[in-house]
């Protein structure tokens, strides 16, 4: 505060104008922030969301024949916004020789077409662009970039339970 400017009537007018303009801007900025920040949180923060029953029943594991994949349909609950939707899901279930059970997601990892099991060739075949997957889901040939996706599974007693679909990450060797 060592060089106080000499106040002429004119400069007094401009500093007062400056004060008003600054005060208007500051107050409006506070109001905008008080509206804007909640709006952004409201639009971008994920919904707290109740988790539905994560596991859907998908049949009796003793019924699956070893090494012969079957397409199964199961009922699951999905939360869609404020709705709980009961919907059908499908999976290709394989029981291996060691009686380990795997459930593959029903879509080809190339462009999402539905593939199927070719019992004669003993592989999964996608008719869209001829991707071929082996019985353990690995890419044998064709444009598919990664192995088949797998559902989380667990066995309770003899009941097979199917959970979330996990994207396969393993890159094609």
């Amino acid at each position: 505060m060592d060089d106080v400017p000499v106040e002429t009537p004119q400069s007094q007018g401009t500093t007062r104008r400056g004060f008003y303009a600054a005060a208007i801007n500051v107050l409006m900025a506070i109001v905008s922030a008080a509206l804007g920040v909640p709006a952004l949180l409201y639009l971008f923060a994920p919904a707290k969301g109740k988790k539905p029953d994560a596991w859907a029943e998908a049949g009796d594991v003793t019924r699956f024949a070893p090494n012969s994949p079957v397409e199964i349909v199961f009922q699951r609950h999905r939360i869609d916004g404020w709705r709980v939707i009961a919907e059908k899901g499908t999976a290709w279930v394989v029981k291996y020789d060691n009686s380990q059970v795997v459930a593959f997601g029903p879509n080809c990892t190339h462009l999402g077409c539905a593939y199927h099991w070719e019992a004669g060739q003993k592989d999964f075949f996608c008719p869209c662009h001829n991707s071929v997957f082996s019985i353990d889901g690995k890419v044998v040939s064709g444009p598919a970039p990664r192995p088949l996706d797998r559902f989380q599974t667990k066995v309770q007693g003899t009941k097979l339970l199917i959970g979330q679909l996990r994207k396969s990450t393993e890159p094609q060797a």
């Binding site: 005060a23 409006m28 509206l35 409201y42 923060a45 404020w82």
Partner: protein
């Protein structure tokens, strides 16, 4: 940097004339007497913008059909971050805008600012007041809870009384067979498709006329030099806008807006009450009975609106100082007294609200058994539920009765009790079961009236299953 900005300003001005327009707007000349009493119009416009903003945000997560409307609002309130705050801003903003619009009107009335040549500005203002009330009326139905449903049932039946056009009006409101999906769709369409563009158009006309005729001068202004709108008056507007917004924000956080149970057209015990600013009309209706009812419902409010509309033509005297406008001051005081008396009478005659579940909070506890509730640590359980469940546990009601699937089978399961019995029946039944259900094996359960109240309220909150 500053030079670049100035260059850009020139470029923009040359092509659009925008900057010149803004300057023209800001540097408008206003009378010397202008000041704090003239901030209310700007405040009303600001609050309208807040309503539009929060309304659009709500619409982003709102499904406008009965049932889904309720579920989606519940989703906004219980699962979205800041959802409760945004609904609070919209709810209390609606109340605040009505207060401000009325105060704006009172100010203009007291100062006599509606006089020649500003009659049109005033009349558009009256229409804007009606539009503001229409927002309140239509928005009231949109949560689709019991309060919304029953309040709107009364509203549509009042509309049906309109002489001559009643039947057509209910047809137009989609309420010919009572409030239902059609009514809901119409109210929603009016609330978001008709009223907002109408408001924008009317406000534009209103502001255009204010600009055309200039802010109304007070006696003595003609001798003094004019001021400019910017910066001092804009500063005053901004300060008041800021304070009002701070109050609104505080209310949205601190004063909780409940959500009742979903609309239940079979709930014959529900006592509907309109929003506070319509209570005086509601009360006035009680002063007129039988064939005179239409006077209180339609004729008097209609005459009041007509009188407001014609005020500039009824009061044709010269503009005098506000402190000397005794008739205007008298009319305002009379209106204030009348409004307050009617509103207070209505509040007094409102029966105490029975304890009910507030669905604007998460209600995961609803599926718990009384034992679980009595010992639960969930913080959102209403006090009456916790106390009711504790009494239920202490009296061993579960020896004979089941709640949410747990308990004995000797007596009837208690879910959905509210649908089967009245409250007083249940309370009397605790005192003397034999009197109400002869031959029952249930013994009397003496308890304090407060315990009985809590237990009954808790049992009545159990969902039908």
């Amino acid at each position: 940097m500053k030079r670049r900005l100035a260059e850009f300003g020139d470029w923009l001005e040359h092509r659009t004339g925008l900057i010149g327009q803004v300057q023209h707007f800001l540097y408008e000349e206003i009378p010397d007497s202008s000041g704090w009493h003239q901030v209310l119009g700007s405040l009303a416009l600001f609050l309208f913008m807040v309503q539009a903003f929060t309304g659009i945000l709500l619409a982003f997560n709102y499904a406008p059909t009965p049932g889904d409307a309720y579920d989606s609002l519940r989703y906004i309130l219980t699962e979205l971050t800041a959802g409760s705050l945004i609904r609070g801003l919209h709810h209390w903003g609606a109340s605040m805008i009505i207060v401000v619009v009325v105060l704006h009107m009172v100010q203009v009335f007291l100062w006599g600012a509606y006089k020649k040549p500003r009659e049109g500005t005033w009349m558009i203002g009256v229409v804007l007041l009606l539009v503001t009330l229409a927002y309140g009326l239509t928005g009231y139905l949109l949560p689709w809870d019991n309060r919304a449903y029953w309040g709107t049932t009364v509203t549509t039946q009042i509309a049906a009384m309109s002489p001559g056009i009643g039947a057509y009006l209910t047809q137009l409101l989609g309420a010919a067979d009572g409030v239902g999906v059609v009514t809901f769709a119409r109210f929603y369409a009016v609330h978001v498709l008709i009223l907002p563009p109408a408001t924008i158009l009317l406000v534009a006309l209103h502001v255009y006329l204010v600009r055309k005729h200039g802010v109304a001068p007070a006696p003595g202004d003609e001798l003094k030099p004019k001021k400019r709108f910017f910066p001092v008056q804009v500063f005053k507007d901004t300060v008041v806008i800021f304070l009002a917004f701070a109050l609104l924000f505080a209310m949205a956080i601190a004063v909780h807006v409940p959500l009742e149970q979903v609309a239940d057209p079979t709930d014959t015990a529900y006592i509907p009450r309109p929003e506070w600013y319509f209570l005086f009309l509601f009360q006035m209706l009680k002063l007129f009975n039988g064939p005179l009812e239409v006077v209180g419902a339609i004729v008097l409010p209609g005459l009041a609106v007509l009188a407001l509309m014609l005020a500039p033509f009824l009061d044709r005297g010269k503009v005098v100082k506000v402190t000397r406008r005794f008739a205007a001051i008298g009319i305002v005081l009379l209106a204030v007294v009348g409004w307050s008396a009617l509103t207070m009478a209505a509040v007094k005659s409102t029966p105490p609200q029975e304890a009910a579940v507030d669905y604007s909070y998460p209600t995961d506890w609803i599926s718990l058994t009384p034992d679980q509730i009595a010992t639960s640590t969930i913080s959102d359980i209403p006090a009456f539920v916790r106390q009711g469940a504790t009494i239920y546990q202490a009296k061993h009601c579960n020896a004979c009765h089941a709640v949410n699937g747990a308990g004995g089978k000797l007596g009837p399961a208690l879910n959905g009790l509210a649908k089967r019995q009245t409250r007083s029946w249940v309370e009397d039944h605790f005192v003397d079961p034999q009197k109400l259900s002869p031959g029952t094996i249930m013994p009397p359960y003496p308890m304090s009236s407060q315990d009985r109240d809590n237990l009954t309220s808790y049992l009545f909150s159990l969902p039908d299953r």
